[in-house]
């Protein structure tokens, strides 16, 4: 972590400007980096920036309501906070946001598919990760193991953080290559692909719970009257769940990719999240969470919105 930032946070903690700092704690593989809330200056050294901070920190702000907190945020996390603020779930002004230069997050599944052995340790170094295990030591370029959502990242830096730390970020290509590839498939092939993904789902709802913007008190999938989605493993129900969730995310999803990495079954949820991001971008020239006042894409309209598809 940047020394200047630590000094700044220390000062703010000590003079009572903030009650604590929310960030990620770096753990040695195979333990996972998790979120920690630090309320004393000695604890600050536990907070670290890492390629393996796979959650969206905005998910946790609900647990800190009413506290003055400094939060270390990446682009997507800050946009999620803005979005939550627009939707009156929290007050953006209560938080002191420190923008981190984001190099993306690594999907451990991709690392495992490249390292055919038992991984013992993973180190991060610039744009490389060094993987060590029973099959020796290899270096992997981060770009090869980047989370799918990061590949479609439109904005790695925080648009409205209180301070931004300078540094290298991933390049915001947002070329939606995978989405375009799927769009070029025939209808049956598309379903074949998605069916295979959806059939993996065990309905643990990790995707929903780690999503900063899935905050509904009663999720539609839990509603029994009307029952939008029936219980069980039938792919029609599972697809309904994921599609309706995506509809709710359209124009709100910040593309952090937390859901895809959290999924214990490795379902490629980014194929869906990137699709809705691409659609709102192309159709409404919209990106979610750019400010704490910009409404979600589907809660506003323009007179000249695209409507050629309507008879």
């Amino acid at each position: 972590m940047d020394k200047k930032i630590i000094e700044l946070l220390k000062e703010k903690l000590e003079n009572g400007e903030i009650e604590g700092v929310l960030g990620f704690e770096r753990k040695q593989y195979p333990e996972k980096n998790g979120v920690i809330f630090v309320n004393h200056s000695e604890g600050l050294k536990r907070i670290a920036d890492s390629l393996f901070n796979t959650l969206n920190i905005a998910t946790y702000l609900g647990k800190l309501k009413g506290k003055k907190v400094a939060v270390l945020v990446r682009g997507c996390e800050e946009r999620a906070i803005n979005m939550l603020s627009v939707e009156n779930q929290l007050n953006r002004e209560e938080f002191f946001l420190i923008g981190l230069p984001c190099q993306g997050i690594v999907n451990i599944r991709k690392v495992k598919s490249l390292y055919k052995g038992e991984i013992k340790n993973i180190e991060e170094k610039d744009r490389l990760i060094i993987v060590e295990g029973d099959k020796g030591k290899i270096e992997i370029s981060v770009s090869k193991v980047l989370s799918n959502s990061c590949l479609d990242c439109q904005r790695p830096t925080s648009p409205t953080a209180d301070i931004n730390i300078e540094g290298d970020t991933i390049s915001p290509d947002a070329d939606f290559l995978k989405v375009k590839e799927i769009e070029s498939l025939s209808f049956p092939d598309r379903w074949e692909m998605f069916k295979n993904e959806f059939e993996l789902c065990i309905r643990c709802y990790s995707c929903r719970e780690v999503c900063p913007l899935c905050y509904c008190e009663t999720c539609f999938v839990d509603s029994s009257d009307p029952q939008w989605v029936e219980p069980g493993k039938d792919v029609s129900d599972i697809a309904s769940f994921h599609l309706i969730r995506m509809l709710h995310m359209a124009g709100r999803c910040v593309g952090c990719g937390a859901c895809e990495i959290a999924c214990p079954e490795g379902i490629k949820l980014s194929y869906l999240t990137s699709k809705i991001a691409k659609d709102v971008k192309e159709a409404f020239n919209y990106e979610s969470g750019l400010t704490a006042t910009q409404k979600p894409a589907l809660s506003e309209f323009k007179q000249n919105d695209k409507g050629e598809f309507i008879l």
């Binding site: 643990c204 990790s206 039938d234």
Partner: protein
Amino acid sequence: MKKIPKAEFIKELSKWGKIFFRTDEGFLENNELSNRRPSKPPKKFVIPQEEIYLLFYRPEQKIVQKEIFRKEEKKVIFGLYPCDAKSIELIDLNFLKDPKDPYYVKRRESLLLVTEACTHPSTHCFCTSLGDSPFDRRGDIFAFGMKDYYLAEPLSDRGREAILWDKFANATEDDGKLLEKAKKEIEKSLEQFDFKNIHKILYQKYKDKIWDELAFKCVNCGACTFYCPTCYCFDVQDVERTNWGYRERVWDSCMFTIYSLETSGHNPRSAKMTRLRNRVMHKFAYYQTSYGEYGCVGCGRCIDICPVGFDIRETLKTLKLEAGHD
């Protein structure tokens, strides 16, 4: 204890039923045995994620109810590590106590559990901390894999009847020594905590503020419960069609809000922390009170799978320290 050539052992067992082998992902047919604890538990063999158990239809005026028992073919679950074998025994405690669950009974009777001593514990394993051993003799048959042979012995009637044991030679004293040596080595290699009296500490610390801190990371998804080999909670729901319908049960998770939400809107476990606490308490205290066994086998799958890095070992360790134990 018998000494049986590997191929022959498998051949003998295949006469009893279809064999499902331990693989990295789970227990699958026609597969080579892997050297790792499968990422998925054998739970689905005793409680499928979705089970339609009653069918109703209305041929005329009156409604007709039909129980749906699946046809259960005989299956050999081969190479369960003792933790997974124990997990099924723990689930048994719930479903085989009175009133017995007839669907469960039928499925359970179709299974032959062949346990293999665990020689490759994973990094998150902690069975020894709970007083268990990776060499515990559990299931219907216990086996220890050597280069070309299995040392094997039956532990139950089903195990005794599954194979013509007399056909095979007895294991020698040296074989026994080898087994003991391996056991000691593996047990030693496993990280040791001591959670043997953790239930007392949990009851003592139930109302402690520490729980808020412990539960901070948890987002209450159901991944741990669905990957847990001993979590058996289920939900019952009806599905309605025109003139017919069915009642089914599906896996449920105590981490979900609606798990305990009452129709009146009152939820005894509305706070996220209380749901996590209930899960931990259920495994390490309530199960102990009810059955004298912990509801956890120390397989570490919940730690593997948790998307937020929640570590049950850390939690128990913290609670122990808080309670003034080392």
